[in-house]
Amino acid sequence: MTAEAVADRLNAAGIRADARREKSALAALTAPSFVILGLMLFIPVGWLFWLSFIEDGAFSLENYTRMVVEPAYRSIFLTTLELSVLVTVLSVLLGYPVAYMIAMLPPRAASITLTLVLVPFWTAILVRTYAWLVLLQRRGVVNSVLMSWGIIDEPLQLVHNFTGTAIGMLHIMIPFLVLPLYANMRAIDRDYVRAAASLGASPVTAFFKVYLPLSIPGLAAGTVMVFIICLGFYITPQFLGGGRVTTISMKIQQNVATYFNWGAASSLGVVLFLSTILIFWGFSRLFPLRRITEVGGS
């Protein structure tokens, strides 16, 4: 064995040892978060899942049959879904131009505009919800102004219903769409758009054929996030829905209070969780996330 071969083998052994050390260091660093996740998420969630099948100490499907037998549940699920779809679509329509504009602005103006998006994002949801109540109620700011200008004679019913709930939720959700989308857009090389233009594409064509597809990863990430957060809304529909809008989260809370039984509430959580997974799966079939992340990474 030549000295060179020995050196090579020693070198290789050294590299392997380093790799092992790095792996165990990584494991040690990630262990705490895995333990916390395990203890604080999977165990209680698993326990609640188990409880949803128990009634008076015995196995029972009562918590699930109730959802089929009682007509309220069907419409509560539908309301939650309608509200989430509507708010998600409106967030995309309103949020995309905002993200696009910020991405096009020079850095200084961009950071100021981004701050304007972030300030409401950092304000407590409860505060913003009450603010909407002040603005939208019958004797609120919006109705007072419209009436004093003579545009309307009778106050409009802008809150304590589906409309008010959607407005309040939309305001909360737009930053959740803008932020990932903007991060994505900033990474898009604008030379692509210029290249398209130099090859004769109109600005509109260049946008739809080049820019929009490149921004899809951020758009998809934002859309999924907005939609899934919408499914779990509680405070906003509670305060702005006027009792007419009941979301699944509100029903979960109500079931804890009226049934005195975790299973009556956690069964709803289970169904919400499974339907979210299903929706996510359907979404990933429509927009293959793997490919999206690859594009985003390239």
């Binding site: 109730r66 009682e70 007509p71 309220a72 419409s75 509560i76 309301t79 109540l133 109620q137 019958r138 004797r139 019913q157 304590h160 509670q238 305060f239 006027g242 009792g243 007419r244 009941t246 029903k251 109500q254 009226t258 049934y259 005195f260």
Partner: protein
């Protein structure tokens, strides 16, 4: 010098003698905290500590689930707990409480419906009609039928989104005798609610929300708890209440099963519901004494009686909520109410 040390020894001895005695005579009272429990401290607990020479420690609770957890775990911290009326009925059915000793607790002056084997009322609150005086002057709705009459009283309404109280109100509006509400005719109640639905600007989900709706003039009339209405009226809201066809609800006292000082707790409860101490309540908070004899103690000024919900003149206008009925039917009727609200 010698005298001084004798004095010191005597002092030490008396402290030593007092210590175990003090430890034996501490009991724990749990209630809902806030302004309510502060009023209970002043009106009831302070005088009891003095009279019985005991210490009453306080804790807060959020409802019957807390009592159930302690009893279930056989780790009962509380000797007396304050709960809502339906919770008392429910807890009694579940066997969570020690029976009350009515040889110790005197019920003269207390409505029989408000003193059960395992629980006894401590204060009354009422669900009443409140209306905006800017809109109606002093000629607002005087009954639930008026509340439903959108021709005579145009304007927006607000009712609670829970089934309890709202169903009773809907039936009274439809002409059911307030003394013959139970068992509730649920279909009739829902039909009655259907008539008012489009005039209801919001179905409130919490006491705070009902107060906000009244204060901001969002609803011109609100079915509301008298304490909540009283607070916003004191705060300057242009509104007034009346007790016509009001619904009496209570907070009640229980001794959780396995309480360490159950015998002493009986004595404490006896004093809490006695006319003398009950008479202290109205000056401190907008809840009415459970014991009508409190109004004969001379402690409550004649002028104040008109505004206290359980004073004889106001009590005569109101009806009792049936806690056992709601214990049995709350789940089922909540689902009916939810389905109605979703339509």
């Amino acid at each position: 010098m010698r005298m001084f040390s004798t004095f010191r020894a005597a002092l030490l001895l008396s402290i030593a003698a007092a210590l175990p005695a003090a430890a034996q005579t501490t009991i724990t009272f749990a209630s809902f905290g806030g302004a309510y429990q502060a009023a209970q401290r002043k009106a009831l607990l302070d005088p009891i500590e003095k009279a019985l020479n005991i210490t009453i420690k306080e804790d807060t609770l959020t409802g019957i689930a807390d009592v159930r957890a302690q009893v279930g775990a056989k780790a009962v911290k509380w000797d007396v707990a304050d709960l809502g009326g339906v919770s008392c009925a429910r807890g009694a059915a579940e066997g969570l409480f020690e029976p009350l000793d009515y040889s110790v607790i005197k019920t003269d002056g207390i409505d029989k419906a408000m003193a059960s084997k395992d629980w006894i009322g401590v204060i009354y609150y009422s669900t009443v009609i409140a209306y905006n005086t800017q809109k109606y002057g002093n000629n607002g709705p005087q009954s639930w039928a008026d509340f439903w009459d959108t021709k005579k009283f145009p304007g927006t309404r607000s009712l609670g989104r829970g089934a309890a109280e709202t169903f009773e109100i809907a039936l009274m509006a439809d002409g059911v005798d307030p003394q013959k509400l139970y068992p509730l005719d649920v279909d009739r109640a829902l039909k009655s609610l259907e008539k008012i639905k489009k005039n209801v600007v919001a179905w409130w989900a919490s006491g705070a929300q009902s107060a906000q709706l009244l204060k901001d003039g969002e609803a011109d009339m609100v079915a509301i708890w008298n304490g909540r209405a009283g607070a916003v009226i004191k705060d300057g809201a242009k509104a007034t209440i009346n007790y016509n066809q009001g619904i009496f609800n209570i907070d009640c006292l229980v001794i959780p099963k396995g309480a360490k000082n159950a015998a002493l707790a009986q004595k404490v409860i006896a004093m809490m519901v006695s006319p003398e101490l009950q008479a202290n309540i109205p000056a401190l908070i907008d809840y009415g004494p459970i014991n009508s004899k409190a109004f004969d103690t001379g402690k409550i000024p004649e002028a104040a009686k008109a505004s206290i919900n359980s004073s004889p003149v106001n009590a005569a206008k109101q009806t009792n909520m049936n806690f056992d009925y709601w214990r049995e039917n709350l789940n089922k009727l909540t689902e009916r109410m939810d389905a109605f609200l979703q339509q």
